[in-house]
Amino acid sequence: MTDVTFILHDGTRRIVDVADGISVMQAAVMENIKGIDGECGGCLSCATCHVYVESLEAGELPAKDPDEDALLEGVAAELRPESRLACQIVMSPALVGLVVRVPERQV
């Protein structure tokens, strides 16, 4: 189990303890984190779990699939260097201290 901190659009912080092997998108949906949708269930066919990773460098996160990059091109909110799809961030103890910011909108 590893804590993930979500910063909601209104600035509220919520900390969720996530089991290894569960994605940040799954954890957010199960815990009702407003602003992360995950419509496709994590099979890389939508881009509704867009988050900004605040705490870790890109190299510390799971590598990006080319399909993730393609989907990120179409996200509704501003695309930034720290943009990721939360479904592709699968939790493990290596991600201790992870903080993600929820964007203004997903669609």
């Binding site: 496709c40 269930g41 994590g42 099979c43 890389l44 066919s45 399909d67």
Partner: protein
């Protein structure tokens, strides 16, 4: 008597439960090959509180998949069997036996959605007319070289039936040798020759005593329980007179099966497989040590009381199991006919969906039940701490796990253990497929 908490630990088997996690570490019977003989080889399966669909594709491969389509969770048990797999009738998504998504025909041309979808799929193996599945974590164990798996197809016959109660109370009947003298008592003995394929109708080995007579007249058995590589061995002695002792050897094969004699020629290996916390299927493999079995007759006999497609018995709680007080007075101890399977079904189902063991009072004759619960507790703890529980075997250990010996005969030597061991060895040596068994 046990606490409510302990009773829950033994009986609750859904995902994440302690006993459920233990039972998931073994191959579990999920269907009969006979169920796949018809024009549509697709069956829903509920096992340990989870729902699956089992199907055979055009290549003859069996697949066990999660039952809900991963798209929008419609029921794949109503799927179309075509194009190399099972297709959901809702939007046409197609899955092969490994759970791979082959087509998502409503998605745009070039869509990669299919490549990212994987339906939950589970290993399946066929043994002696039974389809077994492994839904646990990690690699499945190897199949032990039990007689029922070693004997050729011609010498085994498999059947199943639904009992509407928890799995443990059903298994516990199979480790309670005393009940047979009462629950299964017939006031008159049938002609054993006219009782092909039925339990407790034959004559014990080395005697002219019908088993029904032995059970009826000698009702205070001496029961001994010993730990064995496969679980437990029960030896039940009924002294008939100064020179003769009826000897019955039966077994628990951990975690969920018992192995008992049906007749001098045939043994019964019977699993009690949880459908969920409140229902279980018994799966039985009959194994002949002499000639081939008459499978057609045995299947017809049983379908008459356990009809397809669900193998739910015609006698059940809704009709008081066919209870007839006049029969109880004149012909049988229970008054529910002459099929001993129905007697056991009544005993278990009448205890309620889950027996309330905070209200029970066990006697000396229940010693195997007590021994089994100790064993179950220990193995649940092992599984929870990541150790390998009993009978979760590697290939070498599985190949060495044979038998077990089950026997029903009348000893005149006074050395009952030597008697049943030698009797079993003779029967095995004469069996067309038999081999050596325990040291």
């Amino acid at each position: 008597m046990i606490s409510q908490e302990q009773n829950d630990t033994y009986t609750r088997v859904g995902p994440g439960s302690q006993c459920g996690e233990l039972l998931r570490l073994y191959w579990q019977p999920v269907a009969l090959v006979d169920e796949f003989e018809g024009p549509r080889p697709v069956r829903p399966v509920r096992l340990l509180g989870q729902n699956f669909v089992l199907f055979r594709d055009e290549q003859g491969r069996y697949g066990l998949l999660d039952r809900d389509c991963p798209h929008r969770n419609a029921d794949l048990a109503f799927g179309r069997l075509e194009n190399g797999g099972l297709r959901c009738p809702f939007h046409g998504w197609l899955f092969d036996v490994d759970g791979k998504c082959l087509e998502t025909p409503a998605e745009p041309v070039g869509s990669k959605l299919c490549q990212r979808i994987r339906q939950g799929s589970y290993p399946v193996e066929v043994r002696s007319g039974v389809i077994f599945a492994y839904i646990g974590k990690g690699e499945p164990p190897a199949f032990p070289a039990l007689d029922c798996f070693v004997a050729p197809d011609t010498h085994t016959f498999a059947f199943k039936g639904l009992w509407e109660c928890n799995w443990l109370q059903s298994l516990e009947v199979g480790m309670d040798p005393a009940h047979a003298s009462f629950l299964h008592r017939f006031f008159e003995d049938e002609d054993p020759e006219a009782s092909y394929g039925k339990q407790f109708r034959a004559t014990s080995i080395d005697s002219d005593l019908p088993i029904t007579k032995v059970l009826r007249e000698y009702d205070r058995p001496e029961i001994a329980v010993a730990a064995a590589d496969h679980g437990l061995r029960l030896t039940t002695l009924r002294p008939i007179d100064e020179t003769q002792t009826h000897v019955r050897v039966t077994n628990i094969v951990f975690p969920q099966a018992f192995v008992i004699p049906m007749s001098p020629e045939v043994t019964i290996t019977q699993w009690h497989v949880p459908v969920d916390d409140h229902n279980n299927y018994w799966f039985t493999i009959f194994t002949s040590f002499t000639g081939p079995l008459d499978k057609k007759t045995m299947r017809e006999q049983r379908l008459a009381t356990y009809p397809e497609p669900d193998y739910r018995p015609l006698r059940n709680r809704s009709n008081a199991w066919g209870y007839d007080p006049s029969e109880q007075k004149a012909a049988t101890y229970l008054g529910m006919g002459f099929d001993i399977n129905i007697h056991d079904q009544w005993a278990c189902e009448s205890q309620g969906p889950i027996q309330d063991r905070t209200r029970e009072h066990l006697g000396t004759s229940d010693k195997a039940i007590i021994a089994y619960r100790r064993l179950l507790s220990a193995e649940i703890a092992k599984a929870a701490s990541g150790e390998t529980p009993l009978m979760h075997l590697d290939a070498t250990a599985a190949a060495a796990l044979k038998g077990p010996v089950s026997f029903d005969g009348v000893d005149r030597s006074g050395d009952t253990e030597r008697y049943w061991r030698e009797g079993d060895a003779r029967r095995r040596a004469a069996a067309p497929w038999g081999g050596e068994v325990e040291a």
